[in-house]
C-alpha cells in the first residue's frame, strides 16, 4: 500500500456532461497544429516553411534559448502554414496530414542500459522534452539542469477530467519505459507518481514511488502532490509531466517512433456525445466536439474549464490539453431578482453558503455558463482562497505581493512552489472576480526574469 495523503482543502465542481465509457477513436483531422504559445517560456525558431514535407517526429520549431529543445510534428504530411500574430509572434505551425502515417525512426533504446546522454538526446530530439514542465516557474525546463526528481500525477481531479484508467489503458509498458528513463535523468533517480486512493492503474509499474491522494480537486495537481511529498528547497528543480506524455516518450524508446497520442475527456453540458476520444496532439478541435453545431452561444474549450483555452471552431487541441469542454456562454444579463445577486440561485454552484448549493444532493450535476456572475472589485473578503488551496502558503498575500510587484515578498510567500493552475480554484471562488491565474503567471515570469 502506498503512503496516503489526505487533502481536505479544495472543491469538486460537479459539472454536467462528464465523459464516460470506453475510448473511441476520433475522426482524423484535416489539419494538425502545434502552437508555440502552449509551451510557456519557449521562444520558437521555426525550422520549416509552408509546403515542406514532414513526417511524425520532424522538427517544426526549436527554442531560441535552448536550441536542443525541439517541437516536432504529430503527423506526416505537408506544412500548410506558419501563422503569425502581432509583432510576427508565431501562433501555430499547421500541418496537413497525408494519411500515410509515416514517422521518423529514432531507433529503439533500452531505458535500463542505454547511456544517460542518449536518453536525454532522444527525449529532446523526439519532441517529448517540450512536454515537460519544471518547478519552479512552470516553464519548459533548461535541458542542461539535472532535476532533483520527477513528479507525475496519475490522479485527474479537474472538473470533467477523463478517467485515468481509460487514458492509460494499454499504455502501461510505454509508461514504465518512459518512467524508467526519466528516473535515470534525475539526480535522485526517483519518479514520484501520485494516484487517487484505491486506483490500481499504476500498481504494476516497477521502480516508481507511488503516493496516494485522497480528496477533492486540486489534489490531482502535480504541484499539490510535490508540495506534500517533497517540497522544493531553494536551488532545486523538479520536472513534472502528464502520464500520457511519459508513455509517449516510452514508446519512442521502445519502438523508435514518435506518436503523440492524446486520450481526451470530451464533455460539458453542451457536448452532444461526452466520452473518451483518442486523437493526436494538435488535432483540429471540431473532430472532438461530437458534431456540435457552431454557435456563438457555445464556448469550446481546449482543456478543462479551470485551465483550458477558449478556441473557435477553427481552433486546435492544445499541447497540454487533455479535455475538450463545451459550455454555454453566459452573455445574457441577469435581472437581480430572478437570476442575479438577489435571486434564490438554485442554478448557481457556490463554494460559499450564500447560495443554496449546500441544500442539493451531492450527486446533482450543474450546468454552469461562462458568466462572471459579478463585476471585478477590490479584494474585500479574506479566508476564501485558503479553503481551496491545499498548500502551506498564504495565497491571498502571495497574489497581493505579485500585484504590488514585491519580488522579495513573492519569494518569501512561496511563489517558486506554485503554478498558475494551482490557483485556478482560487480564481473560481474569488468574490472580487480577479484573474488570479494570470496574476500568478505574471509573477512567475517576473521572478524568473529577475533571478533566473
Amino acid at each position: 500500500m502506498p503512503h496516503t495523503i489526505r487533502i481536505r482543502k479544495g472543491v469538486d465542481i460537479r459539472l454536467a456532461g462528464a465523459p464516460s465509457g470506453a475510448v473511441r477513436d476520433a475522426a482524423p483531422a484535416d489539419v494538425y497544429a502545434v502552437q508555440p504559445p502552449d509551451f510557456h517560456g519557449l521562444v520558437p525558431r521555426v525550422m520549416v516553411k509552408p509546403g515542406d514535407r514532414v513526417t511524425a517526429g520532424t522538427t517544426l520549431f526549436t527554442d531560441k534559448t535552448f536550441e536542443r529543445i525541439a517541437v516536432t510534428s504529430p503527423v506526416s504530411g505537408t506544412v500548410r502554414d506558419v501563422v503569425r500574430g502581432e509583432k510576427r509572434r508565431v501562433l501555430s505551425v499547421e500541418v496537413t496530414p497525408d494519411g500515410a502515417g509515416t514517422s521518423h525512426d529514432f531507433g529503439a533504446l533500452d531505458p535500463a542500459t542505454a547511456d544517460r546522454g542518449a536518453l536525454l538526446d532522444r527525449l529532446l530530439d523526439s519532441g517529448c522534452f517540450a512536454f515537460i514542465r519544471t518547478r519552479p516557474f512552470d516553464v519548459v525546463p533548461d535541458p542542461t539542469v539535472v532535476p532533483r526528481d520527477i513528479f507525475i500525477s496519475g490522479y485527474f481531479s479537474a472538473p470533467l477530467a477523463p478517467s485515468v484508467a481509460e487514458v492509460m489503458a494499454g499504455r502501461m509498458d510505454d509508461f514504465a519505459a518512459g518512467a524508467a528513463a526519466l528516473g535515470r535523468l534525475s539526480s535522485s533517480g526517483r519518479v514520484h507518481v501520485g494516484v487517487r486512493t484505491g486506483d490500481s492503474t499504476f500498481d504494476a509499474v516497477p521502480g516508481i514511488e507511488r503516493t496516494s491522494f485522497d480528496g477533492p480537486h486540486p489534489a490531482g495537481n502535480v504541484g499539490v502532490q510535490l508540495h506534500h511529498v517533497a517540497p522544493l528547497a531553494p536551488g532545486e528543480t523538479v520536472w513534472t509531466l502528464h502520464p500520457e506524455d511519459v508513455a509517449n516518450y516510452g514508446r519512442v524508446l521502445r519502438t523508435g517512433h514518435y506518436v503523440p497520442t492524446r486520450v481526451i475527456g470530451a464533455g460539458g453540458s453542451e457536448h452532444p456525445a461526452p466520452g473518451h476520444l483518442r486523437t493526436l496532439v494538435g488535432a483540429r478541435i471540431t473532430t472532438l466536439t461530437g458534431g456540435a453545431a457552431p454557435s456563438p452561444d457555445v464556448r469550446i474549450i481546449s482543456g478543462d474549464v479551470l485551465t483550458g483555452t477558449r478556441v473557435g471552431t477553427d481552433g486546435y487541441l492544445g499541447a497540454f490539453a487533455h479535455a475538450v469542454t463545451l459550455l454555454p456562454e453566459g452573455k445574457a444579463p441577469k435581472f437581480l431578482l430572478t437570476s442575479g445577486w438577489l435571486g434564490a440561485g438554485f442554478d448557481k454552484f457556490s463554494v460559499s453558503r450564500a447560495f443554496p448549493t449546500w441544500l442539493m444532493p451531492s450527486t446533482k450535476t450543474w450546468k454552469l455558463d461562462t458568466n462572471t456572475n459579478g463585476e471585478e472589485r477590490a479584494l474585500v473578503v479574506t479566508g476564501q482562497y485558503e479553503q481551496v488551496f491545499p498548500f502551506d502558503l498564504f495565497p491571498q498575500q502571495l497574489v497581493k505581493s505579485i500585484i504590488a510587484h514585491d519580488l522579495d515578498g513573492m519569494e518569501r510567500l512561496g511563489i517558486l512552489e506554485v503554478a498558475p493552475e494551482d490557483f485556478a480554484l482560487c480564481e473560481y471562488v474569488c468574490t472580487s472576480k480577479l484573474a488570479v491565474q494570470s496574476i500568478v503567471r505574471k509573477g512567475l515570469d517576473t521572478v524568473k526574469q529577475e533571478i533566473g
Binding site: T309, N371, F394, Q397, R412, L413, E427, A435
Partner: protein, 409 residues
Amino acid sequence: MKALHNLLDGLRPSFQEGGKLRRFWVVFDALETFAFTPGHVTHDGVHVRDGIDLKRTMFLVIVALLPALVFGTWNQGYQYHLSIGEADATLWENFAVGLWKVIPLIVVSYGVGLGIEFFFAGLRGHAINEGFLVSGMLIPLVMPVDVPLWMVAIAVAFAVVIAKEVFGGTGMNIINIALTARAFLFFAYPKQLSGEIWIHDIAASKAAGVAVDGYTGATALGHLANTVGKPMTDPEVTGIMSMFTDTGMFSFMNAFIGTIPGSIGETSALAILIGAAILIFTGIGSWKIMLSFLAGGLAMGAIFNGLALNAYMTLPPLHHIVLGGFMFGMVFMATDPVTASATETGKWIYGFFGGLFSILIRVFNPAYPEGVMMAILFMNVLAPLIDYYVIQASVNRRTKRVAARVSAA
C-alpha cells in the same frame, strides 16, 4: 424585465463617452449593475465562476443586520414610552416612535456616504464598490437615538473620506469605517454625546415633568463608569450596582434580550446572535474572530471578577459581554475582513485581544465607557502587524522543514 433592460440600453449612449451625461457614467453603471448582473463572460483563466459576488456578500451582511435593526427600532420606541411611564404602549406605537427616529438616520448615513462614494468613483473613473452598503447601515445602528442629524452627516463624511477614500477606497482602508464615524463623534462632540441622547426626548420629558424617576437617560456602561474611583460601599455605587441584579433595569436577561437604553442596534445580544448565526452559516463573517473575541472578553471579565477590586470588576463576565456594544462590535465590526487580520491564525489572535481590550478599556478607563470601539480600532491598526508575524513564523517553519528534508536526503 426585458422592458427595463431595453430602457437601460436606450439610456446608455447619453452616459457614454461623448454623451451629454458622461460625467454621471458611474451612477448609471452602478444602477445598471445593481439591476442586472451584466452579461460579462470569462476570458482567460477559469471559464466558470462561482455564483458569489460582492453584491451578494454585502447583501447577506445587511440581512444579518436586520434582526438588530428591527429590534433596535422597536426598542427605541419602547424606551421612550418607558421613560414617560407608558409601559403599556403597543408594538406599533413603539415602532412608530422608533421608525420616526431611525429612518432619518439611515437616510442621512446612506445619502452622505453614497454621495461621497459616487463622487470619488467618478473622479477616479472606478466602478462603485459595494462596501458602503454595509457601512451605511452600521453607522445608524451604533448611534444614540437622539444624535443630531447634522452630526451624523459630518461623522459619515469624515469616516468615508479620511478612513476610506484617502487610502484608496473599498478594500484599502486600515480602520473600520463605521467605527471611525462613531469615534469621530465621540471625540469631536464629547459634550453632546455624553448628554441625554440615549432615550428619545428624555430631556424634554424631564422638563415637562413626565419622565419616570430614575430615568437618567444613561446607558448601562455610563452608569458603571460612574462607579469607578468610589468605594464599593458608597451608596451611589451600591445604587448603581443594584440595577445589575436579576431584578434591576440592566439585569442579564434585560441586557440579553435588549430592552435597555443604548445605541440603536447594540442593545439586543439575542438579535445580534441571530445575525451572527447568519454570517457564520453563510461563511461571510469569520467565526474564528467572533469566537476568539468572545473568549477574550470572557477571559478579561473573569480575571476582573476574580480580583474584584472595585464594584465594576464584580460584574460577572457573562453580564459584561451582553452590555454595551461588545456583541455588536464582535459580530459586525471586528469581522470586517478588510480591517481584520487576513491570516487564519491571525484571526484568532486579533479577535482574542480585541475582546480582551474591550473589557479592559471599559473597566479601567471611565472616560471611554465604550471600550469595544477603541479596542477594535486599536486591533485594526495592529492587524497588519499580527499578519506579518504569522506569515514570518510560517515562512521560518517551512524553511526549516525543507532544510531538514535536504539534510536527511
